[in-house]
């Protein structure tokens, strides 16, 4: 999918594709299938979540109260906002507005970083009281023998999601560099389009994680 050709016109088409459209369609289909695998990847954790919640409903209720709903909510808004800005970046590419591509990519990267910073504060405040995954768990505020399991699932789900955010930031920084070099225009913006697809999925997974982990009534 990577393309290092900076010239305009059809020269970005790789040798084995017939035309630009075939290349674009292929990349997009490839990304969609990749997203399916991502959903299944997280799906395993969601199944584990469902099973343990079914077995220990009151534990999930007690543990969720330990999490800061406020921080989670802010992060949700931040990520939804970043989904919007990356969509605007794609729009800017379609309209051939190179300056706007850069601008919206920058905002998206900024929002992603905000998300990570908030997550960092959340994690450290938990670490401080001894809420750590698995055997390292020492917190005594929750009166339940399985409390460590909830937080293990919490750390694995949010941690895996966090890794996806970091990878997303890496890709967007790279896109930003290429955009500044003038690699993308209205006839070729496949990498931006498929990165946006990826980013929407990262956002979507968080939209599931937030109520499942923070808003248990």
């Amino acid at each position: 999918m990577a393309n290092t050709n900076t010239a305009h016109g059809e020269s970005h088409v790789q040798h084995h594709f017939v035309d630009s459209e075939q290349q674009f369609d292929s990349s997009k289909l490839g990304m969609w299938i990749f997203l399916v695998t991502e959903v299944l990847f997280f799906g395993g954790l969601f199944v584990a979540y469902i099973v343990y919640r079914a077995w220990n409903p009151e534990l999930f209720y007690m543990s969720a109260k330990e999490l800061s709903t406020m921080m989670g909510a802010i992060n949700t808004i931040v990520l939804i906002g970043s989904s919007l800005t990356i969509a605007l970046a794609v729009r800017a590419a379609q309209l051939n507005q190179q300056a706007n591509i850069s601008k919206y990519l920058l905002v998206t990267i900024f929002l992603a970083c905000v998300f990570l910073v908030i997550k960092y504060f959340e994690y450290t405040s938990k670490f401080a009281v001894g809420i750590l995954p698995g055997e390292l768990y020492t917190y005594e505020g929750i009166d339940h023998p399985g409390a460590a399991i909830f937080f293990s699932i919490y750390y694995m789900m949010t941690g895996l999601h966090g890794i996806h955010v970091i990878i997303g930031i890496g890709i967007m920084v790279w896109l930003l560099v290429k955009t500044r070099q003038g690699a993308y225009n209205s006839s070729y913006f496949t990498p931006i389009e498929i990165t946006a697809l990826y980013w929407h999925l990262v956002d979507l997974i968080w939209i599931f994680l937030f109520p499942l982990l923070y808003l248990i009534e």
């Binding site: 077995w55 220990n56 409903p57 009151e58 339940h144 023998p145």
Partner: protein
């Protein structure tokens, strides 16, 4: 002839299930052999009859034949329905022990089997059962997953840590039969065998009494359970005479249908009692609060003892 072949490739028939399992085994083998023979003969016949005579051979264009395709879809479909139904019936038998089955607790360890009888007698790697009587095994592992397998009985069941599983059988007569562990469990997996001795019921009773006397210091399970009932403080909340307490009474609890705060119901069988001891918060009886602490620190024998004790409070 089929019987002769079966005797060569199957273990002896020593439980009430075995004949039915062997019947299905034979049915599938015969049906498969007929179809396989047909396929093989067709392949060989076609290979000879239609071998290439010249490089310019012209072959007919046959793309499809609905009748043929339907035939070899429907015939196998009927066959597998028969196989499924037959296997299903046999399996249901294996999973439904008669209510009068004689119960023995089985504990699997790496790499030996322990058997605990209702009167507290414990044996290791030797399982004595009354011949011709249904025997129910209530099994649990102390470490990793094991599996209890008696080829002569056609009985197999995985044995899990932290949970009871069940198997039962009824022998056709007296005899000795080997037990294998069939779930890989480490270094000694292949040495984790034991023996079943099916002996005449009178002989069995005598054996049990004899063992009991041999180890007078060892208490019957139910007695051990009564001691635990006092020692562990169960008596503080659970009465034995039906009088209301902080928790439900033990009187008539065993096999009683319980109603829970989450709206479900369940029969208070051994597995329910075990769960309620080690993880009392899982299911809360209607009319009571979630305050009982977990007794997961009790050994499996102690839990079994408590359950045997509860069973006796009628």
């Amino acid at each position: 002839m089929l019987e002769t072949i079966n005797r060569l490739i199957l273990p002896q028939v020593s439980s009430t299930f075995a004949a039915d399992v062997d019947g299905l085994f034979t049915f599938i083998n015969v049906a498969s052999a007929i179809i396989l023979l047909g396929i093989t003969v067709a392949i060989i016949y076609f290979s000879i009859k239609y071998r290439r005579k010249s490089e310019d051979d012209v072959t007919p264009v046959i793309r499809y034949n609905t009748t043929l395709e339907l035939t070899w879809t429907i015939v196998p479909f009927i066959l597998i329905l028969i196989v499924f139904g037959w296997g299903f019936r046999g399996y249901i038998d294996m999973r439904t022990p008669p209510s009068n089955a004689y119960e023995i607790y089985v504990t699997a360890n790496s790499f030996f089997w322990q058997f605990t009888y209702p009167n507290g007698v414990q044996t290791t790697d030797e399982l004595y059962v009354p011949a011709g009587r249904p025997v129910k095994l209530i099994m649990q592992s102390r470490d990793v997953i094991h599996s209890f397998f008696v080829p002569d009985f056609r009985v197999k069941q995985d044995v899990l840590p932290g949970r009871y599983t069940m198997a039962w059988f009824q022998t056709l007569g007296t005899g000795e039969h080997i037990i294998f562990c069939t779930e890989y469990c480490g270094t000694g997996h292949s040495q984790m065998d034991a023996m079943v001795y099916a002996i005449e019921p009178e002989e069995f009773d005598a054996w049990l009494r004899e063992q009991r006397e041999l180890s007078e210091q060892e208490l019957p399970l139910a007695v051990l359970g009564r001691n635990l009932y006092q020692q562990q403080g169960c008596a503080g909340c659970h009465s034995l005479d039906g009088s209301p307490g902080i928790g439900p009474t033990f009187q008539g609890l065993y096999m009683n249908e319980r109603q829970f705060t989450n709206g479900t119901t369940r029969i208070a069988d051994a597995e329910y009692l075990r769960e309620s001891i080690v993880n009392p918060a899982a299911l809360i009886n209607v009319g009571y609060n979630n305050i009982m602490p977990s007794y997961a620190h009790l050994s499996d024998d102690q839990v079994a003892a408590l359950i045997e004790f509860i069973k006796e409070i009628e």
